[in-house]
């Protein structure tokens, strides 16, 4: 679905090392590492938001639909929850179904100001799913949530993924346990070298999806 052949990426210092990454339908991949190691940068490159890198990003034909859920919910503050979804949804029913899926149907008429961070993230997640993406990118969906809210969010992501087995996922997280829980293959970042490491220090991924 998507192949990324990254030569190097850096601003004043080298941020990401060489990397060849292939994502196929149904893949679950987690970019794990401490903050500032370039996880979000890589996610931005995968998502096509960051085009300033050496290398190539190839998309399959027909072009896969990519939905990006940002770390901040980034909802339009002057639109209600439902209106925010309707910006992306094709119909009102789809918007309400998605809100039901993230258990926020009763918040449809609220403004983002009236939501907690956890709720706002769930709206953002619903909005991402509204695109009916082939590839879903989640940037730190659990960060700054209290433990019980984070757990609830994680379970929600698990459920949503089970219902959409063909959708590929790339998750950015600083916590490997979260990634393991949703069954994602880990892609760990080494801050010192900017290299991407595979579990057990393998040089290529078992499934043949990752070649570092």
């Amino acid at each position: 679905m998507l192949e990324l052949d990254l030569k190097e990426k850096g601003y004043d210092q080298r941020l990401l090392g060489d990397l060849n990454l292939q994502i196929a339908a149904g893949d679950r991949l987690a970019l794990v590492g401490p903050s500032g190691c370039g996880k979000t940068t890589l996610l931005n490159i995968i998502g096509g938001l960051d085009r300033a890198f050496k290398g190539q990003r190839r998309l399959a034909d027909p072009e896969p639909k990519i939905a990006y859920m940002f770390q901040e919910p980034r909802l339009l503050p002057w639109r209600t929850v439902e209106q925010n979804l309707r910006m992306v949804c094709s119909s009102r029913n789809q918007a309400l179904d998605l809100l039901d899926e993230v258990a926020l149907l009763e918040a449809a008429c609220r403004y983002p100001r009236e939501l907690s961070l956890g709720m706002a993230r769930r709206v953002a997640l619903a909005r991402a799913l509204a695109l009916e993406p082939d590839l879903l990118l989640l940037d730190e969906p659990l960060v700054s949530l209290d433990p019980s809210t984070a757990l609830r969010m994680l379970r929600l992501v698990e459920t949503l993924l089970k219902k959409r087995p063909k959708m590929a996922l790339v998750l950015v997280s600083h916590n490997p346990d979260d990634a393991v829980r949703i069954g994602a293959q880990l892609l760990e970042f080494d801050t010192a070298t900017g290299e991407v490491l595979l579990p057990n220090n393998e040089k290529s991924a078992s499934a043949g999806q990752l070649l570092v």
């Binding site: 938001l49 939905a67 990006y68 940002f70 339009l76 639109r79 910006m87 403004y111 009236e114």
Partner: protein
């Protein structure tokens, strides 16, 4: 009655009483009291003159206002969004911001003659730079995170205008509409005084030649009342509606 309205009426009544007291004390036709002014308003209303001149002036204000908001808004938007447009146009903007209204009015009358088009154009030329400067600030302060989100979710151009840009520009639009309305009607009076044969400014000109302070005040207050009505009837409800998402906002 809510407390804001009560305070407003209290202040107005107080000022009127002070004014009437002063007028009685001075007892000079150069300072007519509020009652005399109200009588003059009624007199001018009955003769039909007041309504005619108010209408003419209001039409000029409305045309100039709409044109200045559209032109200034577009200009400010492009200057705020494009560094190149800003580099090219900024010296011109500074020049026009500092060009006295009177100079523009006189020049346009000289070049175009004492015609309606010159009058309205003079007002527009005076106002466009102010609107542009305000909207430019708004265009520069757009949230880059929401911009990126709109990019990622492939918002259409129309969605960007209606749901992303206009709500962010709204406070700047309101500010330039408020100052715009106040500035424009003042300039329209000068334009009318210098080169038109109708409108509130023209009537003020006549009254000035006769030192008829009562008529001057009658026309001035009538138009101030109209501007106040626009503020209450149009601008404030619009603002209230657009600010719903912020919840209850209490202005100082």
């Amino acid at each position: 009655m809510d407390s804001r309205l009560r305070d407003y009426l209290l202040v107005t009544a107080g000022l009127l009483m002070v004014w009437q007291g002063l007028a009685v004390f001075v007892a000079d036709p150069m300072l007519p009291g509020p009652l005399a002014v109200i009588q003059a308003i009624i007199h001018e209303w009955r003769s039909g003159a007041l309504l005619h001149h108010l209408e003419v002036t209001f039409r000029r204000v409305a045309i100039a206002f709409v044109c200045a908001m559209i032109l200034g808004g577009l200009l400010g938007w492009f200057m705020g969004r494009s560094q190149r447009a800003n580099r090219l146009l900024d010296p011109l903007l500074v020049l026009f911001l500092n060009l006295p209204a009177l100079v523009v009015i006189i020049l346009l009358y000289v070049w175009m003659g004492l015609v309606e088009a010159a009058a309205v154009l003079a007002v527009i030329v005076n106002k466009v730079p102010n609107v542009a400067a305000t909207i430019r600030e708004g265009a520069r302060s757009l949230d880059p995170q929401l911009e990126e989100m709109a990019e990622a979710y492939r918002f259409t151009r129309w969605q960007r205008i209606r749901d992303l840009w206009l709500p962010q520009l709204f406070p700047y639009l309101m500010a330039s509409m408020r100052t715009g309305l106040a500035l424009i009607w003042k300039i329209v009076l000068v334009v009318e005084l210098l080169g038109r044969s109708d409108g509130v400014g023209f009537q003020l000109h006549l009254a000035f030649q006769l030192f008829d302070v009562t008529t001057i005040l009658a026309y001035s207050f009538s138009f101030i009342a109209i501007v106040q009505l626009i503020e209450w009837g149009l601008l404030q409800p619009l603002e209230k509606r657009a600010r719903r998402w912020q919840g209850e906002v209490h202005h100082a």
